[in-house]
Symmetry: C2
């Protein structure tokens, strides 16, 4: 008597959420210091002090009626002016306020793009494994089909031959997520150049653009002085989806954007379709107070040194225990660790019996790996390494 | 090359938004005190001081990592406990935290309900004119069909014979909005009793419940000591959609909820489908800071005396000018005024030429009326009455 698809989605919690809730329950049982929960990507460092100061200032000084009032559906104009100026400063191009559509986080941004680009049921979006599992939910929700390509191992760059084979008359877009959740890979300029050449050629063959949808919530979370290449530099028909959840440690406040640069083909139509999708999905405007906050704080990040430290501790510690840490994440706060047996679900179950909570890679479309979210207090890493030691011993390491 | 429906929705702004943007442009031309804009329902009184104090306190005292972090998809448990306790205090019943699904405003709440209840394309929801025009967008977005019934004149209660005739095998729900935007009507206990009897009988005939979807963003905005009847008291299969936008003057912050009381048939399945719909639409969680704020402030309202005063001024002033003010709004901050000629669009165009911005009733499915949003500074009403006088004179009053 209800939508079967919605009912199924509402009853089957995601693997990650399931594990997270288990961890909470288990912590109440045995104590929080006995459970080593690496399940969920909830930032563990507070927002930057400048953002907290700005939040306090906004509330103290601004007219509450305006601050908490409706904004234009695409976002407050002054906010979009500030953000587009910040993007111009950081990435060049000629971005203006009308290229930006502010959203209730990156999930909303992606949903608006998938709905906006899907002309007819059965249209396709190419997704690379490993991938954030909600991509499938969002694409199918738009009536489209996710075409999931196997991973390029061991570096998690892109298998261009597979992309070429997968592109067909129904292909509307290619979704990338770099830095990648869960693999931690950052696409190199070489990868993006090659992908752009392929998409340009294929678009010409099809007689219409294949859009590159670049989901970038981890854009600023990169290590060892790396910089995430700016996808629109490589391929003009790029639609950028961004979220402030990770960079500013504000995941609950739901603020992000869709950027459709004027260099993209049919940019006005794409922008209009994204905005229309937002309207039909019930997104009236992105939360107004945090629109103002993010406009003032664009480009800032929370203190990422904690993540860098955790990453180093894991690389060193797990390596010493016999795990394969030859490819530490270039970005994000996820470690995608080869498991000590091919069956990653069995491996993670064994870890779970030791109160060590890891997400099986098969939940992201790639078996033989486990994802560790290392956005946790550093003490938890240190304690967890002991348990990882026990686990390694069970596998004879 | 994009979704035609989304493109159309993204390019055709709503009549109200169109008029509002025109008013802004016109104010820059002739000065804001020369434009009498009654187009948009943006609250004109600030949030209650207690809410502003609580907002400042939350930011000052709470751990920012928790305050701005992800919550459960259905909303923070402590928040849902507080809200359900508040609902029990105010309305009785046995509401608990698991009956509440927090949403990004009432628009999101409605979208989740329509998507959750629609089993197959072509399922129907009954809507009463006059109606908020986005209802049509939301229902069609779920793949369902809005069945729009003509108004019950002159009191804008419900024409039961029309409902009876409209209910068929595809009817999934009946949408009510009391207090009503734009008519200002509040359904009486008699109306709700009769509607409940009809729906109970029809549900029995169909062998499954027809749900009553009660959209209540104006619940607390009623006049002359009136109280909005609580729809679930009359019909147990009621799904309540609520928003804090109007009651707390926080429309830009997007906070609301869906309430599925356990007394509703198949409540767990309906709740799961609503939550699943939220997931597929990209609603990760309702904004976390304002979840906490609304939990602390549920039941409070902004200072409604300004709206009461504006309503009184309009009733007296317009009545003296020869307008029909025999049915002032019982609730909301909208006046639904019979126009001085049958063609309400022509009437509103004539008003617009005097810089008096009213929304034609036909935009809400009922011609012969104009909507005035009187959530405006009281001075604007006083100035506008002069212009209304000129307009009345043009019609020989």
């Amino acid at each position: 008597m209800v939508s079967k698809r919605c009912y199924d989605l509402g009853t089957a919690r995601s693997v990650i959420r399931e594990l997270f809730e288990y961890g909470n329950a288990r912590a109440r049982e045995v104590g929080p210091d006995r459970v080593f929960d690496f399940s969920i990507g909830n930032p563990s460092v507070p927002p930057p002090q400048a953002a907290l100061d700005e939040l306090a200032r906004l509330i103290r000084e601004e007219d509450p009626l305006k601050l908490h009032g409706y904004t234009s559906a695409q976002g407050d104009l002054a906010v979009r002016e500030k953000l587009s100026a910040s993007l111009r400063r950081r990435f060049g191009h000629s971005y203006g306020p009308d290229d930006l559509y502010l959203t209730v986080g990156a999930a909303a941004a992606l949903c608006c793009v998938f709905h906006g680009l899907t002309e007819a049921p059965g249209d396709e979006f190419i997704v690379f494994a490993p991938y954030f599992p909600e991509y499938k939910v969002f694409i199918e929700g738009a009536g489209a089909v996710p075409v999931i390509l196997p991973p390029h191992l061991p570096d998690f760059q892109i298998d261009l031959a597979a992309v070429e084979a997968a592109i067909g008359p129904r292909t509307k877009g290619v979704l990338i997520n770099s830095p990648n959740n869960p693999a931690g890979a950052v696409y190199t300029p070489q990868t993006l150049t090659a992908l752009s050449e392929l998409l340009t050629r294929k678009s010409r063959e099809l007689g219409r653009p294949i859009y590159l949808i670049s989901d970038e919530p981890y854009r600023e979370i990169v290590y060892d002085g790396a910089v995430t290449p700016w996808a629109p530099d490589f391929y003009p028909n790029t639609i950028v989806c961004y979220s402030y959840s990770k960079s500013l440690s504000l995941p609950g406040e739901r603020l992000g954007y869709v950027l459709v640069g004027s260099e993209a083909e049919n940019a006005p139509a794409v922008y209009a379709a994204v905005a229309g999708a937002g309207r039909t999905l019930g997104y009236v405007n992105a939360p107004s107070l945090f629109q103002r906050l993010c406009a003032a704080c664009d480009g800032l990040t929370a203190d990422l040194s904690v993540y860098a430290k955790n990453r180093r501790l894991l690389t060193d510690g797990l390596g010493q225990l016999g795990f394969d840490t030859s490819l530490p994440p270039a970005g994000t706060f996820y470690y995608f660790l080869p498991t000590l047996e091919p069956d990653d679900v069995a491996f993670c179950e064994r870890a779970k019996s030791l109160d060590l909570l890891l997400v099986p890679g098969s939940g992201f479309g790639v078996s033989g790996y486990a994802r560790l979210s290392f956005c946790v207090p550093t003490e938890r890493i240190q304690g967890a390494l002991e348990v990882f030691g026990k686990l390694a011993k069970e596998y004879g390491r």
